[in-house]
């Protein structure tokens, strides 16, 4: 039997609804299903095989492919990179960037690396106090300037400090910002021009819906994303945003945030996510 468009319509619609209910952004879901349809039409199937089972299996493979694109091992990257490795954390407001920096610092220290933090959010109320408290708890040096200072300069300072002290990693925080703010995106571009980060990590939350595609796309177009961290997956989020972000950037999800403590950072596993989505 040959699979035709008609027999695919209901299975693909059901799968699209399942993806949308799991927070895969609509543009991503539609594009993935569209190429799936093209791939399946005209394929032969056994008389006993159900079309919706075939579609589901094909989708599972397509999702795995999307979310595994560009995967690399973070620990190996750190180990092999020229020191100091400069890592910049970016994203929209409230996604968990500052908390991620604390978690990553904790993880790096556990693995014997020396770390310095840069207080690159020089704008928001209480931002410096927040990262300062983390630095103190972690026993890590924090480079900060006064509120309103140029973030590019603070980060530059931190890199100089790392060079002088022969430290392994610089983790640079930035203020949350929306891709719709021309000024703030220009500021971010300047931070990258001045400091030339080795890795730009886009931090977004698993509970975000369709906007995950738009913001990942805009940040990627503005400064180029090297990898992402998906936070708050412990809020029972299905994690579809991982598909949206990987689909539009082609870059890997490196970690997922599973809580508010320093240890709540897990390496991202593509199979685990796909199982959550259409298990």
């Amino acid at each position: 039997l040959v699979i035709d468009e008609g027999s695919l319509e209901k299975p693909l619609w059901d799968l699209e609804i399942a993806l949308l209910e799991s927070d895969v952004a609509m543009p991503a879901a539609e594009e993935i299903l569209k190429s799936l349809k093209e791939e399946l039409i005209g394929e032969r199937r056994k008389f006993t095989a159900k079309t919706h089972k075939i579609a589901e299996e094909a989708l599972r493979n397509a999702l795995l492919k999307v979310v595994s694109s560009g995967q690399f091992d973070f620990d190996t990257f750190i180990r092999d990179a020229a020191k100091p490795v400069k890592i910049l954390f970016v994203g929209v407001n409230g996604t968990g960037k500052t908390t991620c920096i604390a978690k990553v610092a904790y993880r790096l220290r556990e693995r014997g690396h020396s770390v310095v933090l840069a207080s690159g959010d020089t704008f928001r109320a209480g931002a410096e106090e927040q990262i300062d408290a983390h630095a103190e708890r972690l026993g890590v040096k924090l480079i900060k300037h006064q509120q309103g200072a140029d973030p590019a300069a603070v980060i530059y300072d931190a890199v100089q400090h790392a060079n002088a002290r022969k430290l392994d990693v610089v983790l640079a925080d930035t203020a949350g910002r929306f891709h719709t703010s021309v000024n703030l995106m220009e500021q971010l571009k300047k931070i990258c021009r001045v400091n030339k980060p080795d890795l730009i990590i886009f931090v977004d939350e698993a509970i975000a819906g369709n906007d995950a595609v738009e913001r990942a796309k805009q940040f990627n177009e503005a400064i180029g994303i090297g990898g992402s961290i998906l936070t708050k997956i412990d809020a029972d989020a299905k994690g579809g945003a991982a598909i949206s972000i990987a689909h539009v950037t082609g870059k890997p999800i490196l970690f997922v945030g599973t809580g508010q403590e320093y240890g709540d950072l897990e390496p991202f596993k593509p199979e685990w996510l796909v199982e959550k989505l259409i298990g």
Binding site: I17, L20, E21, S22, D23, M26, V92, N93, G94, T95, G96, F123, R124, A125, G126, A127, E128, E129, Q130, I131, D132, A133, H134, R137, F178, H179, T180, E205, I207, A208, G209, N210, D211, A212, E214, R215, K232, D234, A235, D236, A237, K238, G240, A241, Q260
Partner: protein, 286 residues
């Protein structure tokens, strides 16, 4: 984008001589897509679009109204009817408890809400009852200093209930007392219990759920959990200055049975407006 598709479909109706089943189906499909793209709950999208389809087929356009205007009117009526009126904010003595998911905008909204009452001539004050997040105390304190309203917090305290009790006593002279709390979600049982304890200690006139405009399909479940725990009386949608459409707010309204009171439209303490159903819906539909 999706907006264009809805406009194209509407243009088709404008040029149609009569509204038939096929055209209505096409309109409903593009409305579904717009709503899904705007993060409206999937089941809700199906319910609302079925209602729209039913009315578009059954109801005749009123005298002098084109078919296109008629269908657009039905769409707006169903959606604005669903999202309801903006909350009626009393300008008197009251206590307001601010709750919501991590990072949704509670602390900034606490300050913005205080500023709103200040602009209306009332004397607002805020209490920092988030004992977990590093720098939460400083964040709210700095915001209150900039706008010049009273602040109460206990930097090193690990007892939120104690803080609010002491705060309420200390801030007695103020008209409106707004309490900022830590972010939490439905699966953090200890934090949900803490929220209930704080609620009992404050006995507030209002319990506002602050939601990020970008929240996805989780909105319904989380709003339900907060409502079951402390009975929400109003919703605030933050970060509408981004590209997110805020469709999750429809779920919040559905689950809590309460209106949307304010929207956050930026990062300063002034970026706070009273909710307007029509503007919100037209932005949602793109």
């Amino acid at each position: 984008g999706l907006g264009a598709s809805l406009k194209d479909t509407m243009a088709k109706i404008a040029n149609a001589r009569r509204i038939d089943r096929e055209l209505v189906d096409e309109v409903v499909k593009s409305i579904q897509r717009a709503m899904l793209q705007a993060d409206v709950n999937v089941k809700l999208v199906m319910n609302i679009s079925n209602k729209i389809r039913e009315r578009a087929l059954k109801e005749k356009p009123p005298e002098g109204m084109s078919s296109r205007e008629h269908v657009i009117r039905i769409v707006y009526q169903e959606l604005t009817g669903f999202v309801g009126k903006s909350a009626d904010i009393q300008l008197g003595r009251q206590r307001i408890l601010m709750v919501g998911l991590q990072g949704s905008g509670k602390t900034l909204s606490t300050a913005r809400l205080a500023r709103y009452f200040q602009r209306k001539g009332l004397k607002p004050a805020v209490i920092a009852a988030d004992i977990y997040r590093p720098g939460a105390y400083d964040q709210l304190k700095q915001l209150s200093e900039r706008a010049n309203f009273s602040f109460y917090g206990e930097r090193d305290s690990k007892n939120a209930v104690k803080i609010v009790k002491n705060g309420l006593a200390e801030l007695e002279q103020n008209d409106v007392i707004i309490i900022d709390t830590a972010g939490r979600h439905s699966l953090e049982k200890d934090l949900i219990r803490e929220m209930k304890d704080i609620n009992r200690a404050v006995d507030p006139d209002h319990r506002f759920l602050i939601m990020d405009a970008a929240i996805g399909q989780q909105a319904s479940e989380q709003a339900r959990a907060f409502h079951d725990a402390v009975s929400i009386t109003g919703v605030i949608i933050s970060k509408l200055d981004g590209t997110a459409k805020g469709g999750g707010a429809l779920s919040a309204v559905a689950e809590t049975g309460s209106p949307i009171a304010f929207i956050g439209t930026g990062e300063t303490i002034e970026d706070f407006e009273q909710f307007e159903p029509d503007r919100f819906i037209s932005r949602l539909l793109g």
